[in-house]
Amino acid sequence: MRQKFSTGPLFNEMESRSGNIRACYKAFFKWFSGESLSAIRKKQKEAQEIFRLSGITFISDNSKQEHKKTDLIPFDFVPRIITSTEWSHVDSGIRQRTGAINAFLFDVYHDQEIFKEKKIPLELIARNPAFLDKMIGLSPPGNIYTHIVGSDIIRTDPKTYYVLEDNARTPSGASYMLENREAMINLFPELFSRIKVKPVQDYTANLLRTLAESAPHKKSKVVVCILTPGPFNSAYYEHAFLADQMGIELVEGSDLKVRDGRVHVRTINGFTPIDVIYRRIDDDYLDPLNFNSDSLLGVPGLFDVYRAGRISIANAPGTGIADDKSIYSYMPEIIKFYTGEAPILDNVPTWRCSEVESLNYVLNNMDSLVVKEVHGSGGYGMLIGPNSTKLMRKDFSERLKAKPDKYIAQPVLPLSTVPIFGGRGLTPRHVDLRPFSLMSPKGISVTPGGLTRVALKKGSLVVNSSQGGGTKDTWILEG
């Protein structure tokens, strides 16, 4: 926890400090050096056109309602390349973590052994809005809570990866992973015939299989739907994309109805029962009878059907307790407790401001730390010490002193860099990685690669699309 965090020189994933191109980038670099800049610029333009037409956008909502605007997430064609050996380390780390998170959730909502053995303080869940009372004692079909997990991973040197954040509710981004690859294959087919890259396109088939295997019954025909808040949601494009790829219905709350103890969907020829809901709406909005009664997005009575074991919901309600930032700092203990193994992927050292000693440390070292809200997301409500002004730090100090348990702090991480194409050539930018793991009663699988997010501003460490980040295709090499 309090170990010194290396803030050594930045790791450039393509080029070593002595200027050598790392082995995994050699083939790409050779190709790049043989292309004219104008040809590349033309391709970059084509890529923008592909994404513009497909309607792949997100809605930035950090401003007031009337200023909401739809933006394209910028795409940079320079791939992020990782060797299969490097990847297998990440892959096994994610499997371990996903399994541990699922076991933790089962324990949290059943016997609570981990609290009885005092590995984690019980107050963390007792006062936590992400903890769902209604899930206590309830076993979801196949005991699976986290069908889909997308953890955010950063890299600081060739061998070291840290998990920055676990996303166990409804992680998004898989559609960008798939669209980025498709765009790359269309734009640069010659690269893919020269370099063997592990495919990602079977993600949707695996997702559908995972969901079907998690059905509440063993019948051969399983009806799976995606539940979306609707076209106004910022991730709607992804919901439609995944439904389309899987060939399943994209439903809104108003399409579903509980009848005779099962969830039915309203088709043109009447109501038919469904078995699995891949929901892309928050717990709170799932069922106005059982949760937020103001919700118009959900399905009245859905949770009663769930409790009766007659519908699967992916991810299970209440999984948010596992990706809460206050729980995050205990992940190493959680992994040890449920797997008996040391964590394969490290946590970023984290100061919990709820502890007096940590709070004092954070208050005294704010200019070198990142301070985050425990329940915040999307890069909002955080302070990046080295980039902050005295006034901002003063403001945050006051907030911290007022509600210390709402905050954690981490060192400023030397995120690795990967080049982007800057119009005149390659120039390094900071990246992170969100790989996607799928878990069914039959096991856990991780799609090779994931979504690489890149901070397009020079020196920026914030990769979120809502804060001017872009994306890249992520290549895991064969062999």
Partner: protein, 313 residues
Amino acid sequence: MLGRTASGLFWLFRYLERMENTARLINAAQWMSLTRMNATDSDWLSVLNTVGAADAFMTQHDEVTKANVIDWLLRGSDYPSSLINCMDAVQFSGKSVRTAITEEVWEAINAGHIDLNTQLKTRVSESNLSTLLSSVRDVVSLIQGMAQSTMLRNDIFQFMSIGTHIERTDCTLRLLDVKYYVLLPTVSPVGSVLDNVQWETILRSVSSLGGMKMAYGEQFSAPEIIDYLVLNRKMPRSLSYCLMKISNSLRKLSISSRRNTESMRKAKHVANYYLSVHVDSIFEYGLHEFVQKLLTLNSELSDQIAEDYRFYE
């Protein structure tokens, strides 16, 4: 298929058809205003009446001028059927039925939405009007063409076709509703050759001047125009043709769901009692009454389809 998806497809293609009709109507009115010596701005009131927006227009404007009417029809933000609002509705419906349409159709919708939004950002000058109207025609044609060439002929397709033809019926009827008096025997006695520029407006609005001449010769009478717009089954904007398309789609839907619907019965009723007649009977019934009756029947048919296929909760 979801009831909501059927509804989304139906409305997507209704709005698309409405866009095309609005563009045709403006085009025809503009043509008439430029070629007629005695054209006045008040002729544009008749255009507003055709789309049923005269009252709404007058709440926002003090007088009817050509420039104001065109701007209102193209860009009126509080006029739900303005071109820009229709395009938004098409794009929004397309989004909400994204999984039912092909990538080609979606990309055509999205590209059209971006294009027309750019062109309609500011008031369209008279010199740019015809460019804009051709863009609208191209956008609509590309979406419809992509649908024709890439969509499976399944239930999805039937709802698209039903939406198109319900809206088209409505548009042709509205046109007749406003212009019917030109074609009354008191204005142009049966058998006389029409010598009125008004009929030209009608035929231009349905892009059918050439087709009319092909079917009836160079000169034609009022009953021939009614025959053409109402009963001619070869004419893609006639009521008979549209109803035939709607009935075909309803029959195909009933085969795939193995059930007969009230909407099929309603469509058959309209076909048998109102459209299997001689044009003289329409004049006997009263042209105005006939048009009014069919407007009601068309909207009832539309409601019945929504009910039979569970468009709404």
